[in-house]
């Protein structure tokens, strides 16, 4: 039996006695006998913590984490940025970790203020008026953005740049089966979205035009062109941004975005095999009453002291039920708090520095790789932290070969980006990659491509 339940035999006996019951089983009298599990669950009996930890350590050892084992050049939405001890120490304070949604603001000012600060930071990063208290991940944020746009315009169509993260587009497609949105894929040309692609003008005007900048290939998109499409069609502009590149790139708000979404993992979360990450969502004030998820607002308490509370609750599922703007309840608050700490640690100068150093590293690495025999750029468009290449061999094969040499070489691209071929490799370089690591990477790649 686990050491987590405090009940002594005496306690159990006393409590059953108080209830006039003879056994714990009688507590389940309401459960039809025929349904009850006769033999109990077919699971191994409980094991003491140290045994279980040993088992999970075995599993952990069977992985190859980034760090001394694999030097990370992979990105595609999950980046190996610096996470200082101070971020881990503060974000793991048990008051943040073991509390829940701040339903009682009088004893939840800690989480509420941290989220209020997070909202402010995201608003400043995106150049938008308001940001919510987080969503599950980047894909979930995109889905909510499209739902918001559809609700705001009453239109079903969505024009979706092929430069948006493939997994996000797939998730959008999955949920479109329920919402009935019609997703139109807008192809890329030379690495950026071809808004002039034929056929679009004959279509019904869309609810949303979705573009990512930088896009999945790392290329900077002409967001103004997307904005123009919106102005012409009356669609909302949804921009998928990157919170780290935002340190040096023009803010989506300045491009005229109506809704901004993003993946916040790079703001202090470890790679975590993909989760928990952080869905970022910001929009203009016009849409705040359609905002999905929680929103923290400032107000005062009975004594006039500054205080924080979740607000505009009428949007939410627990009140609006089937007419809610979203079904989200539990979100990723702890990651939002983590991001607030990390952005506090980076500050104005630090975030810009991380972005600049990442761009420099990527630029240097790209030059090195392009000098290799048979390596070609996939697209000419300017990139920041990440770039796509075409290799003389299959990208997955290259990744396997470099893993043997201690490098995670990048992410093999979906063939739709390489007209059906499997030679596309997406490489990311963060501020943590040293010149020595990059040089070694290029040298090993050279060998691997032979």
């Amino acid at each position: 039996m686990s050491g987590y339940t405090p009940h002594t035999e005496e306690d159990v006996a006393a409590m059953l006695g108080f209830l006039g019951l003879g056994s714990l089983d009688e507590l389940f009298a309401a459960v039809p006998a025929a349904l009850r599990l006769a033999g109990g669950l077919d699971l191994a009996p409980g094991r003491p913590e140290p045994d279980v930890v040993a088992h999970l350590e075995d599993l952990a050892v069977a992985n190859r984490p980034c760090g001394r084992d694999l030097v990370c050049f992979a990105g595609a939405g999950a980046y190996d940025h610096e996470v200082p001890a101070v971020t881990r120490a503060l974000a793991s304070r048990s008051e943040f970790v073991t509390s829940y949604t701040p339903y009682q603001p009088e004893v939840a000012q800690g989480v509420l203020q941290a989220v209020f600060e997070f909202q402010t930071l995201v608003a400043r990063l995106t150049g938008m008026a308001v940001a919510n208290a987080s969503l599950y991940d980047g894909a979930a944020a995109l889905v909510e953005a499209v739902n918001l746009a559809a609700g705001a315009t009453g239109r079903p169509d969505v024009w979706l740049s092929h430069g948006v993260h493939p997994a996000w587009r797939q998730v959008l497609g999955t949920f479109a089966a329920g919402t009935g949105h019609l997703l139109r894929d807008v192809p890329l040309r030379h690495g950026t979205t071809d808004w002039a692609a034929t056929g679009f003008d004959d279509l019904d005007p869309p609810a949303a035009v979705v573009v990512a900048c930088p896009n999945f290939l790392g290329c900077l998109e002409d967001v103004a062109a997307a904005r123009a499409v919106c102005d012409r069609t009356g669609a909302l502009l949804v921009v998928a941004f990157d919170p780290v590149c935002a340190g040096i790139l023009r803010a989506p708000g300045e491009w005229g975005a109506d809704v901004v979404v993003g993946e916040g993992q790079a703001l202090g979360m470890p790679l975590s095999f993909g989760g928990p990450y952080l869905g970022l969502f910001a929009c203009t004030l016009d849409h705040v009453r359609r905002l999905p998820g929680r929103l923290v607002g400032e107000t005062v308490d009975a004594e006039g002291r500054r205080a924080y509370v979740t607000t505009l609750r009428a949007r939410e599922q627990d009140i609006r039920r089937e007419r809610a703007t979203s079904n989200v309840c539990t979100n990723q608050t702890l990651m939002a708090v983590t991001a607030a700490v990390q952005l506090g640690w980076l500050g104005t100068t630090g975030l810009a520095e991380v972005a600049l150093r990442s761009a420099r590293g990527a630029h240097y690495c790209r030059q090195g790789l392009l000098a290799l025999h048979g390596v070609e750029p996939l697209a000419p468009a300017p990139t920041v932290r990440e770039f796509a290449l075409r290799l003389p061999i299959g990208a997955e094969l290259a990744v396997e070969r470099l893993a043997d040499e201690g490098f995670l070489a990048g992410v093999a691209l979906d063939p739709t980006y390489t007209d059906g071929r499997d030679d596309g490799l997406l490489v990311a370089v963060t501020e943590r990659r040293t010149r020595a690591e990059i040089d070694a990477f290029v040298a090993v790649m050279d060998k691997a491509l032979r």
Partner: protein
């Protein structure tokens, strides 16, 4: 705001820590001073290409985004003080109904921090992630055994995401049967995420009333069932903490019209190892790992909402899914997408570190331990229900499962005090409040879920606190003071109306 502007920005004053006082903690932005910095980055020796050469003018920011500029010291002081302004399970009992705020073993934090788990890239090739894949396969089979299902997806990031995934599975299944159905039935006691998910799933929510015993009115259910009903969403025990005794009849009726049964697993803690959704006739189940399997709730997340399904629905599950390939010694692990998959529901593979915590919890408990969790959770809830019946109204005066829903209706009639006042007063007694005003069908509802990790002494103290509050409500002074509770907390009652009326959702939106 004079009351607080006295203090902001207050540098290293710790008077916002309740230990020392009840002042306001300034925001990070008020602590900020231009030129201050905490960040330190690795020395890389990468050539210092000028920004202008890297980013075209049109894309470059004029100035970096203004965040906050603080020293590491001030950052630590700020968030440590904020943490002292935050109640949590680790500080005391948190009987928030429907949320299963049990104690979360610290060993799970240690596991989630393992370098070999925390620092793995989600796009790394399977050859580099065998441990993760095995972990997920192991968790999936445990969850299937616990729910009595055939297969599961671990992708959904929380319960609501699981609900929508389940509803899309329902839709895909009906489509595969060659028909589309438009309605999904939910009881009037359902959690808000259920109807919201039904809409997003492209269905129309049809609400059935609860009967006098707090369960689905089977007759009323039969009345709404027809060939256009895709299925029903239930949680059992339901949100009143009551077991749906007619579940077999319900299942027969729904299956009878070709519908599917969806199980909202948020209340699974009540029946772990005692009875399984699959054995009750459910076809689709979502689990709230952050509730039942003790992932800390993180101030509102992250969670994880895996969805388990019966054999016939397995082909529709989201993909890619972690699978074992080969057997015995040369067993390896890889990814595979089911033939008729509805597609991805997460950017990657779900909230992986939450999954690792859940597996740890399940392995430590084992089959017997999980059953005991349910038994003791139900024991605690019934002890409280019995002890507090009389102090509050018991709308459904019969044994409950893991939580009990009481009502402050009589208290309100007698004293004018509401469930909300009881909730606020309880804070000062040293406990978090129960869930109030849910489920909606109970007037002045107090929904109390003690969980199995609280001791009899704690329950006695909690019950004593409720009783003391009600006793004090009898006197006029007492009632007046209660109506103004809490008094000792970092802030007093918060003006929610003002927050909505004059929206200030960022520091920059504050009236200057």
């Amino acid at each position: 705001m004079s009351a607080d502007d006295r203090f902001a920005p207050a540098g290293g004053r710790a008077a916002s820590a309740p230990l020392l006082g009840h002042d306001t903690e300034p925001t990070l932005f008020e602590l900020s001073r231009p030129g201050r910095a905490a960040w330190q980055l690795r020395t890389t020796d990468v050539p210092a290409t000028p920004l202008e050469e890297l980013v075209p003018d049109a894309h470059r920011r004029v100035a970096p985004p203004e965040l906050a500029e603080v020293s590491e010291r001030d950052l630590v002081g700020h968030f440590t003080r904020l943490s002292h302004r935050q109640f949590s399970v680790d500080l005391g009992a948190y009987p928030l109904g429907s949320c299963t705020m049990k104690y979360n073993p610290k060993v799970c934090d240690a596991v989630a921090a393992l370098h070999g788990l925390a620092d793995v890239h989600p796009a790394a090739p399977a050859s580099c992630t065998q441990g993760w894949l095995e972990l997920m396969v192991e968790l999936e089979s445990a969850l299937c055994e616990i729910t009595g299902m055939a297969a599961a997806t671990l992708q959904p990031a929380a319960g609501a995401a699981g609900e929508l995934t389940g509803l899309l599975l329902m839709r895909a299944w009906h489509a595969a049967q060659g028909g589309t159905r438009h309605k999904v039935v939910i009881p009037d006691s359902a959690h808000g995420t259920n109807p919201a998910s039904v809409t997003l799933g492209g269905f129309e929510a049809v609400t059935v009333p609860s009967d006098a015993r707090g369960c689905v009115d089977v007759a009323a259910l039969r009345a709404v069932l027809d060939e256009d009903v895709a299925g029903i969403m239930l949680t059992n025990p339901n949100t009143l903490g009551l077991f749906e005794e007619d579940i077999v009849a319900v299942a027969e009726a729904v299956h009878g019209v070709g519908g599917l049964l969806y199980y909202d697993g948020a209340n699974l803690n009540a029946i772990l190892g005692v009875v399984r959704p699959g054995d009750m006739g459910f076809d689709i189940v979502h689990l709230n790992l952050h509730k039942t399997f003790a992932t800390p709730h993180g101030g509102g997340g992250p969670g994880a909402g895996p969805v388990a399904v019966s054999e016939r629905l397995a082909p529709f599950l989201p993909g890619p899914r972690p699978v074992r390939v080969g057997e015995g010694d040369d067993a390896r692990f890889g990814w595979s997408t089911p033939p008729r998959s509805i597609g991805r529901v997460h950017s990657w593979h779900g909230n992986a570190l939450v999954l690792a915590r859940a597996l740890t919890y399940i392995l430590v408990h084992g089959g017997d331990g999980l059953r005991q969790v349910a038994q003791l959770a139900v024991l605690n809830a019934n002890w409280l229900r019995t002890r507090l019946t009389g102090t509050f109204d018991a709308p459904f005066d019969r044994p409950c499962m893991h939580e009990c829903v009481l009502s402050a209706a009589s208290l309100k009639k007698a004293t004018g005090l509401r469930a909300l006042d009881v909730a606020k007063a309880l804070l000062e007694e040293g406990f978090h409040s129960p869930t109030v005003y849910f489920p909606l069908i109970v007037e002045e509802a107090l929904m109390i879920e003690p969980t199995e990790t609280e001791s009899l002494q704690t329950l006695e103290a909690l019950a004593g606190a409720f009783e003391a509050i009600v006793a004090r409500a009898a006197s006029e002074d007492g009632a007046r003071r209660l109506a103004e509770a809490p008094h000792e907390t970092p802030v007093r009652r918060v003006d929610e109306a003002r927050a909505a009326r004059q929206l200030v959702a960022t520091f920059d939106a504050r009236p200057r």
